[in-house]
């Protein structure tokens, strides 16, 4: 089924057999929930309750519950929105782009990355709703045929593009993820011991029977969806960036935004994937599937995209200086040296400077350090959006209207709470669905065919020595 390069490192270590794969990956689903799962889930659910409380309060009282004002109309809300949309990016990149480029190492991480995408987009969508003055009218930016007369949406508005971009992205990601899950769900169904379990997984397996025809169709649809998803990787965040780029606000009105935002999104997405997997592979005992090789590869991507983002930061300064536009120049100097200088330098440190440590091999191969760095990346990318939004708005054209922005406890609660939403969903996912694509991973485990040279035994030995690298 697949060709193993004699000089490439193996992607799955530990000499796993097909049965081992199934047993390993389904263990968290089939045994009783562990204590650590319960602790994690309860904690997340509590934080989710905070989110529900704070969001409900906002909807009941009005956006006055937040710290935004006449000058700074967006702050935590849109910062969080862009942050979560960005996080979602790695999922699509891994599942679609890497699939098309036949990067097989993606197979052990794409499932959880895609799940992360979906949950992150749900978090992001929640901010689209809650940032509205009248969230109960949230369907109005959708071009629905209606009985209100000749009301229609404004296709000039980047917010309408956003609605299309995010909803397309979400639905395609969801379908892609679900299609990928079908063979695995069928496996769970087949191994199910209780009636309820059998019924539910049977329902969601959509009659999968493992025939050649189903496999054929599965692969075709995966490829097609990958093709559809690939432009989305670029389009979604390009369009999100246009929420800013098409405006007049100095600091937003920048043509560099689309590529810069895409790079930033991939950067933050991989940051989050690392956060989840560095912990997850240990807790779920998947070290043989998500190997140090995976972490190493992702660290390299983080370093690359971080540097790209950093380049964009510096380019913006150059363009502002070169443009001769006073307002633009002021906006950028104010960003770095104005009252919000600390947020700018947090962003610079976390996004441009910190990832440079991944030039060092030790940094890429030390899980606790990678985890630490992934948190730094997440913080940096959150601050990037905060810097773009708040520092640009708070001092724009007319000095009389300049103001400062301070978040309220409600906004902070919603930000923290959104992590509760995310992790609650993620914990449920870990408990009820396989976090690694079993069907695909089975295609890349080393086989027993003698003519392939690399036998299982050899791998096993290497693995035991703790040496993940071949050749």
């Amino acid at each position: 089924m697949s060709y193993e390069s004699p000089i490439r490192e193996t992607l799955v270590t530990g000499g796993k057999t097909y049965a081992d794969v199934t047993n390993d990956i389904l263990r968290p689903l089939e045994q009783k929930a562990t204590k650590s799962w319960w602790i994690g889930f309860t904690l997340s659910a509590l934080v989710l309750a905070l989110w529900i409380g704070a969001t409900t309060y906002t909807v009941l009282v009005g956006l006055g519950a937040w710290g935004i004002n006449k000058t700074v109309g967006w702050a935590f809300d849109i910062t969080n929105f862009v942050f979560w949309v960005g996080i979602g990016h790695a999922g699509t990149l891994i599942s679609a782009v890497l699939l098309l480029f036949r990067q097989k190492w993606r197979m052990s991480i794409n499932r959880s990355a895609e799940a992360m995408t979906i949950f992150a987009v749900i978090c992001a969508a929640s901010f689209i709703l809650s940032h509205m003055g009248r969230p109960w009218m949230a369907y109005w930016p959708v071009p629905l045929p209606n009985a209100f007369g000749s009301l229609w949406v404004n296709f000039n508005s980047p917010l309408v593009w956003d609605v299309f971009a995010i909803s397309t992205y979400f639905s395609v990601s969801l379908v892609f993820w679900y299609i990928g899950l079908i063979p695995d769900i069928a496996s769970i169904r087949d191994r199910a011991t209780t009636k309820v379990r059998k019924f539910v997984y049977n329902f969601f397996s959509m009659g999968w029977n493992g025939s050649t025809r189903t496999w054929h169709r599965y692969e075709m649809i995966s490829l097609i969806l990958a093709g559809i998803s690939t432009p989305l990787v670029l389009s979604v965040h390009s369009i999100v960036s246009m929420d800013f780029a098409t405006s007049l606000v100095p600091g937003w009105h920048t043509t560099i935004f689309p590529p810069y935002f895409v790079a930033g999104a991939i950067f933050s997405g991989f940051g989050m994937v690392l956060t989840l997997l560095v912990v997850g592979r240990v807790v779920l005992k998947q070290e043989n599937y998500i190997t140090m090789g995976h972490l190493d590869a992702m660290c390299r991507i983080v370093m690359l995209t971080g540097s790209m983002v950093g380049l964009a930061y510096i380019t913006e300064f150059f363009v502002a200086a070169y443009s001769g536009v006073e307002y633009e120049q002021y906006a950028f100097i104010n960003r770095a040296f104005g009252p919000y200088w600390w947020s700018y330098w947090t962003m610079m440190t976390c996004n441009l400077i910190a990832p440079q440590v991944f030039w060092i091999k030790w940094a890429r191969s030390t899980p606790w350090f990678i985890f630490l760095m992934s948190i730094v990346v997440n913080i940096g990318m959150w601050f990037e959006r905060f810097v773009i939004i708040v520092t640009s708005l708070h001092r724009d054209f007319i000095p009389s209207s300049w103001s400062m922005y301070t978040p309220t406890i409600v906004e902070v609660s919603i930000l923290i709470g959104s992590f509760g939403l995310f992790f609650t969903l993620y914990f449920l996912f870990c408990r009820y669905l396989p976090t690694i694509n079993m069907a695909e991973i089975k295609s890349i485990i080393p086989t027993h065919h003698a003519d392939h040279g690399h036998g299982q035994a050899a791998h096993g030995e290497h693995a035991k020595k703790g040496d993940a690298v071949h050749g």
Binding site: G62, H131, G133, Y330, S400, M404
Partner: protein, 1050 residues
Amino acid sequence: MENKNKYWKGLEELNNDPKFLEQKRNEFAEGIPLEEVLTEQDGELTSNRRDFLKYFGFSISAVALAACNKTPVKNAIPYIVKPENVTPGIPNWYASTCGACAAACSILVKTREGRPIKIEGNDQSPLFQGGVCATGHASILGLYDNERFQGPKANGNDVDWNTLDAKITAALGSAKNIRIISGTINSPTTKKAIAEFTAKYPSAKHITYEAVSNAAMIQANAKAFGKAVVPGYNFDKANVIVSFGADFLGTWISPVEYTKQWVKNRRLTEGKTSMSRHIQFESTLSLTGSNADVRIPIKPNAEGVALISLYNKIASMAGAPALPAPQNIEFAANMIENTAKELWNAKANSIVVSGSNNLDNQLLVNAINSLLGNIGNTIDLDNISNQKYSEDGAFESFVNDLSNGAVDAVIFYNSNPVYSYYNSKKLEDALKKASVSISTNESPDETSSLCKFNAPDNHYLESWNDAEPRSGYYGLTQPTISPVFKTRQAQESFLKWSGNDTDYYTYLKNNWQSALLGGSDQAWNKALHDGFHTVAAKASQSYKMASLPAEAVNPAYQAYTATKDKIELKLYTKVGMGDGTHANNPWLQELPDPISKATWDNYAAIGKATADKLNLKDGDVVKISFKGGSIENLPVLIQPGQASGVVAVALGYGRNSGGKVAKYVGKNAYPATSFNGSTFRYANADVTIEKTGDDYKIAHTQTHHTIEGRNLIREASLKEYIKDPKAGNHFDAHIISLWSERDSKGHKWGMAIDMNACTGCGACVVSCNAENNVPVVGRKEILRGREMHWIRIDRYYRFKDKDGRSATREKNFAGSALSKPNEALIDNSVDSTTDFENVAVQFQPVMCQQCGHAPCETVCPVLATVHSSEGLNHMAYNRCVGTRYCANNCPFKVRRFNWFKYRANDDFDFYMNNDLGRMVINPDVTVRSRGVMEKCSFCIQRIQAGKLMAKLENRVVKDGDIKMACQQSCPSNAIVFGDMNDPNSEISKLFKNERSYTMLEEYNVQASVKYLTKIRNVDDAIAGEYKSKGHDGEHKEHNEKAHQKAEHHS
């Protein structure tokens, strides 16, 4: 063609078959067999199961459907008998006179369905020319104040008027010695009514008491010219105006009248090239000072010596005897010498005024005016002003008499001295001893709540009244609504108590007929229609002061030298809040102070140098102690332009009664006033300031105070303007557009704002609030930057550094990086190189600029904000989902978001939170719901009304038909609105004026609001020389400017 064919449903119809006709009457061919279905036979229903289920289902779903829709209860009461002249939806206008203060401006009151909703200026009035100040606009809200007395009270219990009258007449009958305390009364008929009262009770004496007194001027005029009057001032006749602390554009005597006069010689639109020269000597930056060409900060106690020195300088030029001064003082840049020269050159056509309540200072002012021959021309002692006739000495002895029991009965006629008297404890104790105490005050305030009898007066909009604000000019007040509560006109009460049962309308009319109108009904009707009546002015005579006020010299020098190094306290009144009478008015509390842009508070204004010396910064809470008391817990505000060694505190705050809005806003500074034997004093020469260690945030609507070198404000000096009318306005933007130009057929509305005329007084802000139902949000929300005003007046400071270089950028990284060569930076450090006392102030009213290429329109996802065919930027509240992108993308930041529900919400307990308060709401303007964006609409309801009126009259809209709320009563006529497509309209002419520019022209947003550059009558070069044109004109110009400045100052 009408179809004449007739069709029949069948032969039955053609034949008029009776059976058919019978059936035709019934809507349902078959009857509803309800009874049939429900009839029982033999214990069973006759209908079958099917029918039963059918009807059962129908009824269930019908009930369910009916239950789905909860019909809200709405109380709309139609007219059963339609009142004459009231057509729902059509406003009625009544000419009346404003009763907010004694200036008594002529106004028009707009009523809708019988309720007054808006005050506008009466532009036919020769005296006020259609101007109304912020307080006047806001006074309509007082009518709908549900905390007013709702009826008469005796000893705190509700009684009816007959009972009260009986009790009061009995009490007054046995009273030994009666006093009536009131503010200035310039109503001839009220005076007559009071005279009837004092005739009936011979012991009764009427004492005029003003919270902020002007007694010194009256005493000085009596002493100097034998006339105890406030003269009529003619600022329009003055080429040189010198004011010593008189805030005549803001709060002094009759600000609207004076603004109209002042602006006449400031406006440069009709090809004029001359302007009056305005020099202001003052302690704290006032509205007038901020509009002066030259401003010299002086301590209050330096005023006397400055006046003496000025007198002596002029006297030496005139060859007149000098005052025996030890030495003449001089300020920086020889300002006294120069002022003297300018005054002397403009003799007879100059004016010197002082706001001081110090007799000596007023005498010196009289001496100067007399020497210059101004009296009889710019100062008119024959056609006098009837405001601020305070009898400080008489009031002082009243308090003593009341305490020692010599006076046992007192009537407070709309006067609240327990709040505003410096020793209010003494008055309070004395008042408790009085056997009869009556108040006619409208609300339970500090004084009226101590009185035994409350005979509440009507609001002036419910009253008949008259006024004579200036000799020969009579204003008439007519009621525009029947009394909301069981209140009665105070004049009628006085008449009742003096045994005269005439109603006040008849009394007033008879008085006018006999005294003014020669019995003519026609003249009465005309006066009622016009709202005013004028009689020919007397010839204005020239008066000369007989002797020099030599006695003023020594005290002035003593005070000057004794307090030279001490901190002096200056008490002033703020525009809008004034003496505190209207403190319960949320519109006025929320009106940003024109200078500090602070709302909902007073504060200790201190200059930068003094604050540094005392180690104080913005927001530090201090205690100001003076002999005999202190003002506690005042926050510090660093005020540019303030004289060093002076702390200024506004009066009118710190009410502890008088309504929930008034209560506890700011701190009461009246205890710091004093009585010096002849007048009340509003300055205290020796105070100490202590830091309490607390912090307090003052709610400002503007927190950044300088323009940062941006070309949004453009100005030039008069000399530069004469040389090049476009001076300061050479910023030719290079415009590229992605959008196609809009079709501009029909009307295209635009607005022009003359920054030379705008004084920044804030009348437009309150007018707009009233017109457009702009909610009040309170201090906390303003602290969070969420005021809702649709129009704001930006105020910027420009400083000079010690070398005289101009500075508009703050000294920080951005300022240093972006400043032009030789431009100074504003240094806020302790050893500052910036001269914070030498400040130039710029005002710029900003409302929605109604951009042609509006940045807000393109970003709205739901088309809630769209362009109209008349060049307006519309806002459809119902469509708005509240993404706030439009506000972010608005470069002018004029959009306002409804963060909360501001009406019927206890968190915003202002007028929109009660039924009575909501009566002021303009029915032509939607009250916005929570979560939607709003902004200036260019008073779209007025545009529509103007167009409809033209249509009804079968004509096109004429220029001037439609006036914006901000424009209509602007005291300086700074705002012009009109159709840009009409080549003959005033706006078209102004748009072609060399001085006109739009903000952010280079962004090609195509604003429909143009500003006219501010021209100052100063010697400095402001605009700089303009030489080059071309692609980068803007850049070169900046450099030119900078070089020019460097040359000029080197």
